[in-house]
Amino acid sequence: MAITAHTDSRSSTDTGRRTRSTGTRFTRALGIATIVLFAAVALFGLLISPADITQGESVRILYIHVGTVWVAYLAFVVTAVSSAAYLWKRTTSLTWDRIAGSSAEIGVLFMAVTLLAGSLWGRLSWGTFWVWDARVTTTAFLFITYVGYLAVRGLGGSHQQRARRSAVVALLAVLEIPLVHFSVKLWRSVHQEASVAGSTDVTLDGSMLFSLVLATVAFTAFYVWFVLHRQRVMAMQDALDDKGLDYALVERRAEGAQSVRGNI
């Protein structure tokens, strides 16, 4: 594909007419909605909803904890499905690969927030920052596994190599995580841990349930907004890797031609 300098003023290589952002009307609307939702979460979570009868104020942490863990799980499912989609027919576009990568990035970040929030809530409710049960341990493993996934994405090589390698790693993670969960469950059932350090299941009423759902919706909205933007950024990065040198050469030559004309 030949890249030539256009002298046509309608050309998009003319810097003045380029789109300068990754936004579209949809993402701008979504972004504003997300900001409003987050403000609502802060309002309801911290002020409007009441303290729990048994747990006290610490239930407020759960709104964040559940919101982020739901999005983290969603993100990893999307990564796995996108990876499978990419491998299904190798000739399909790298968009699946970019969606998988973007999704994993936000998944890892939110998983970290989940673990922090859960740990703080556990300290307040059970007196311990950590408990070795299947759900908590598997969540930690999921986090580490996808950190590894992101590291594999950073190994370099062509875009197709990156896509193929990380897609296989993501699908192996789908195999590994249930095994870890099952092993830990079997392990802890033998030890019959105390029901005091029990589950995070709590019964919530009215406004508390609303706050929970609100937080989940808010974080999901942010997830969609982020994945859209991030995979566009990745697409540009890939395009720049492929053609960046050519564009730079074209522009430098065009500058050179202009300055020659200017000097004559």
């Binding site: 594999v152 193929r164 195999l175 092993s183």
Partner: protein, 227 residues
């Protein structure tokens, strides 16, 4: 050439290289023994050591696995041998199985040494009926470790800072083997008062793990090492 013939040839090649270079024997086995000694320094209590000896055996195995896997692929990337195999059009599933077999055999030798050391250093005492459980544990656990090691070792092999990725990828995946093999070995050795019969559910888990990663690895190895 059938996949199994390729596997046999690759396994024989890897074992022949080990027999001639003796890297595992001269370097990895002493390393594993050293790890067992260091555990004793860290834990500093004879009762504790005896009780946790099954866990220490498998921890030392997993740490050594890292080194053996890196060695297994270092012999491929030196002189571009893996590329040569790929270019020759050899079915990667055969390469995967062959390298797994060689890795498993080296691990078995390692585990035998570690078990002897546990008996000697930590006063672990295998009971009569426990020996069957021990064998039933070691076989699927070793196969599982070998499959996973070969799989992720292939991914992490090569230049440009890929080797340091291996522990990060490998250790989360081998966690079920560590849990299962340790609990089953506890049952076999009677450590902490475990009955021999308690080992069998864990052996089941180890067999499922080995089967899943045997199949998964055979399918995934080709795409992973493709360049």
């Amino acid at each position: 050439m059938s996949v199994f013939r390729i596997a046999r040839l690759v396994a024989a090649k890897d074992l022949r290289i080990e027999r001639r270079s003796r890297v595992v024997i001269n370097q990895v086995l002493p390393f594993a023994a050293l790890v067992m000694v260091l555990f004793a320094f860290a834990l500093d209590n004879d009762d504790t050591l005896e009780r946790v000896s099954p866990g220490l055996i498998w921890l030392a195995t997993i740490f050594s696995l890292l080194v053996v896997v890196q060695r297994s692929f270092a012999i491929e990337t030196a002189d571009g041998a893996l590329d040569a195999i790929r270019v020759a059009g050899v079915d990667p599933a055969g390469v995967f199985l062959g390298k797994s077999i060689a890795l498993a055999l080296q691990l078995l030798v390692l585990e035998a040494l570690l078990t002897v050391l546990a008996v000697v250093l930590y006063q672990a005492e295998p009971s009569g009926s426990g020996v069957l459980v021990l064998f039933a544990t070691v076989l699927p656990a070793t196969c599982g470790l070998a499959f996973v090691g070969t799989l992720y070792g292939g991914l992490a092999a090569g230049t440009k800072g890929r080797e340091t990725l291996l522990p990060l990828l490998l250790f989360p995946v081998v966690a079920p083997v560590l849990i299962g093999a340790t609990r089953a070995t506890e049952a076999a050795l009677g450590a902490g008062g475990a009955a021999t019969s308690e080992g069998w559910p864990w052996i089941g888990l180890l067999m499922i793990f080995a089967a899943l990663f045997g199949v998964g690895g055979t399918l995934a190895f080709g795409p992973l090492i493709e360049e």
